[in-house]
Symmetry: C2
């Protein structure tokens, strides 16, 4: 873990960080590494992606989306705390959709929204759902995230979700960028991003409160920061894989 | 797995069993080993348990109850099928309670019902919730169930839940027996059993349909039967541990 939190590289400091400093350490670690600064996202938001690249991202990121309810179920399985489970359960519904008592859907859920996005950018829905076009590096990165959640403590698993603290800003910028640059995409197809602006903020606030309350030693605080750093690396690796699949000729000649 | 399903001990038969025969094999394996026939349950239903024994069972079985949402979250984490997750989610709410959108509880849940049962038989609620009186053999058996679900396939995990096929009859008999023999227990405290009569039947029908549809080889069918057998052994071991903790003098002298 090293002295990741030490302000002066002082290896001897191991006292529990006060709340504000711990939150700042998480914030700093995440902000430095969050994938909003990845070249692929920069090009996306500058309107520089071709339709083929946009589709490639949508198809591959869908694999990440399908992992979310799985990792949230693993998080549920790691606790004995009924209250925690009740608070966390909505995350599965947020992606799978929420049926009422009769089975009727009252919320389509994030996966269905992403499928609409995929169709709007011109993907074949069945191909997207089959996951067969998912790039090896994307599959590896997303599965590594599920493994992280499976293997580490509940505290670290929750800390790894704190990338959502940065998601709502990214989503807001993304909506603006898509409406400005990718005018061929039907605006209603951006509902997933719109929904996440609100939910990512709510979810990250919940998760920060949990992590701050439950990290009771400096070692645990450092483990939380390390889990968040690893999660940032995983999100970055996902975009590396998409980027490495190649730029499209029209964009390559502009560069 | 052996020739558990072979009618004549014929080791060579390995064709997929037709639906009815597979269901019958599950039914037979479960009925033979289900813990309704355990001496402790027989004494319970005959009205032969002392208040101390009843309390001991309630406190220890509570540990099992607390494992249920954990194993159901593990089951959710084992599938990529959104429909399956949507159908299975209610099982967690059934035990944890179901909050509406505002967080207000619309269903108290099985754990809260069991806590009311514990209080009605004279247990100290905080001691029950702390789990500190749980017997070693009970802890071992229940943790083994969670491990089984964690380690085996989704199909086997679901098959292990098929003990519920037998639960509604046991619950019905239990309600009658308690009302007849343990008249000092407030009838409203038996709500957990009443709720399970309905839910266990519904859940087991769901699970049977899943297992029948997904067991596509004879080997998988045998693995399902084996998982159900192991689950029966676990439930039996739980009662062995409670039984082994000793009978109370008043009952011992009657015997």
């Amino acid at each position: 873990m090293g002295s990741g939190l030490g302000r002066n590289g002082d290896q001897l400091v191991s006292a529990l960080l006060p709340r504000a400093e711990f939150i700042e350490a998480l914030q700093r670690a995440g902000a430095e590494r969050y994938h909003d600064k990845h070249p692929f996202h920069r090009r996306m938001h500058a309107g520089a992606l071709s339709p083929v690249e946009l589709r490639r991202w949508v198809v591959n990121r869908y694999y990440y989306q399908t992992r979310i309810p799985i990792k949230d179920a693993l998080i549920l399985s790691k606790t004995e705390d009924v209250e925690f489970r009740r608070r966390w359960m909505h995350r599965i519904f947020d992606h799978d959709g929420r049926p009422d008592e009769t089975g009727k859907m009252t919320d389509e859920g994030g996966l269905a929204q992403w499928q609409r996005l995929a169709q709007a950018v011109g993907c074949d829905l069945e191909e997207v759902k089959s996951l067969r076009s998912v790039l090896p590096g994307v599959r590896f990165a997303c599965d590594a995230y599920v493994d992280l959640v499976r293997q580490r403590s509940l505290l670290e698993a929750v800390a790894s979700s704190l990338t959502e603290s940065f998601a709502h800003e990214l989503m807001s910028r993304r909506i603006e960028a898509w409406l400005a640059h990718y005018t061929w995409v039907e605006p209603h197809a951006l509902d997933y991003f719109r929904t996440r602006v609100v939910r990512a903020r709510r979810d990250s606030l919940e998760a920060v409160e949990y992590v701050v309350a439950e990290a009771r030693t400096r070692e645990q605080q450092e483990a939380c920061v390390a889990a968040l750093v690893r999660k940032c690396e995983i999100l970055w690796a996902l975009l590396d894989a998409v980027e490495a699949a190649g730029r499209e000729p029209p964009v390559a000649t502009i560069d």
